[in-house]
């Protein structure tokens, strides 16, 4: 039987996807029988999945300009995919922005 602190650390690492599948299986079995670790896992997921992306999104919204350019034709490929998904754009939208470079 491993020390409980081992599983506490795994619950935090698992929230960010930073454990191996073998560790995940160990943790899954442990959490099924440990309400404390179940609560821990949920709390860490809320921080990692909901909270931290919001913090970094706020920072990126103010600071980042989007320096990595998509491949040419990205807009056309997106509109084609969206159309296949059922969206209907006007001819002007397909033609593109009048101010777009």
């Amino acid at each position: 039987m491993l020390d409980h602190s081992y599983y506490q650390e795994l619950t935090a690492l698992a929230a960010g996807g930073h454990i191996s599948l073998q560790e995940y299986e160990e943790l899954r079995r442990h959490v099924a029988a440990c309400s404390q670790c179940k609560r821990d896992a949920l709390a860490y997921c809320l921080i990692v999945v909901d909270g931290l992306p919001a913090v970094f999104a706020e920072a990126s919204a103010g600071n980042e300009r989007g320096t990595e350019a998509p491949e040419p034709g990205a807009r056309e490929r997106f509109l084609a995919r969206a159309t296949r998904a059922g969206l209907r754009f006007s001819p002007e939208a397909y033609a593109g922005s009048s101010t777009r470079p």
Binding site: V55, A57, S90, A93
Partner: protein
């Protein structure tokens, strides 16, 4: 954001035209999207797809995967438009928050797929942040503000590992290689940092609730 089917029931002629939408603010364009103006999605894509792509590319580090993540982010934005509440934050931040969320999910999936040679699995039900969820009894804005303060309270090593993992999408192994620390230490910094953030958020949310009730 739930993955509901595309709703095509809105009459196109009653909605703002593309050229008109182009001149509106983000929140006004978002209102158009909520009303069913599909052209509004093209306008938001024009404004922010380079930024979303940059974030996705930084995290997944593959052009094709980053473009796929970008497309999914905007399609899900359309599906979840009804959940957007302008009083809780800007369209841009909401969109970027989901971009991080999606890109990090994809990175985790790619790590597993590369190791086990699995096929992509897009059946994952990925939910973007909504104001409806209330972790720790806090709104998403309150949680974000507390985490900003909590991050400042971490040790430099803890903050560094959490930022590299959550902002750049690096694995624990990659962080260990970049920092020269052992993998065991990097994992421990991540755990200790998250534990401290959790304690910080929980203690502050209790204090705030007691103060509000007093």
């Amino acid at each position: 954001m739930s993955r509901r089917p595309i709703d095509n029931s809105h009459p196109a002629q009653a909605l703002p035209a593309y050229r008109e939408l182009e001149r509106l603010s983000d929140d006004e364009v978002m209102a158009g999207l909520q009303a069913g103006a599909h052209d509004a999605l093209a306008v938001l894509f024009d404004r922010y797809h380079t930024l979303v792509f940059s974030i996705a590319h930084r995290i997944v580090r593959d052009t094709g995967e980053a473009e796929d993540v970008t497309q999914i982010v905007f399609l899900d934005l359309f599906r979840a438009a009804a959940q957007f509440d302008a009083s809780k934050g800007t369209t841009k931040v909401w969109l970027l928050q989901y971009a991080y969320h999606r890109a990090l999910s994809r990175k985790r999936h790619l790590n597993v797929r590369n190791f086990y040679d699995l096929e992509p699995d897009d059946r994952v039900t990925d939910v973007p942040p909504t104001s409806e969820r209330a972790p720790f009894g806090l709104s998403s804005v309150e949680l974000r503000n507390l985490l900003e303060k909590g991050l400042a309270s971490l040790t430099p090593a803890q903050r560094n590992v959490i930022e590299r993992a959550s902002f750049d999408g690096l694995s624990m192994k990659e962080i260990a290689e970049q920092t020269g620390e052992t993998l065991v230490n990097v994992r421990h910094h991540y755990y200790r940092g998250l534990r401290r953030l959790r304690t910080f958020v929980e203690s502050r949310s209790i204090v705030d609730r007691v103060a509000a009730d007093a």
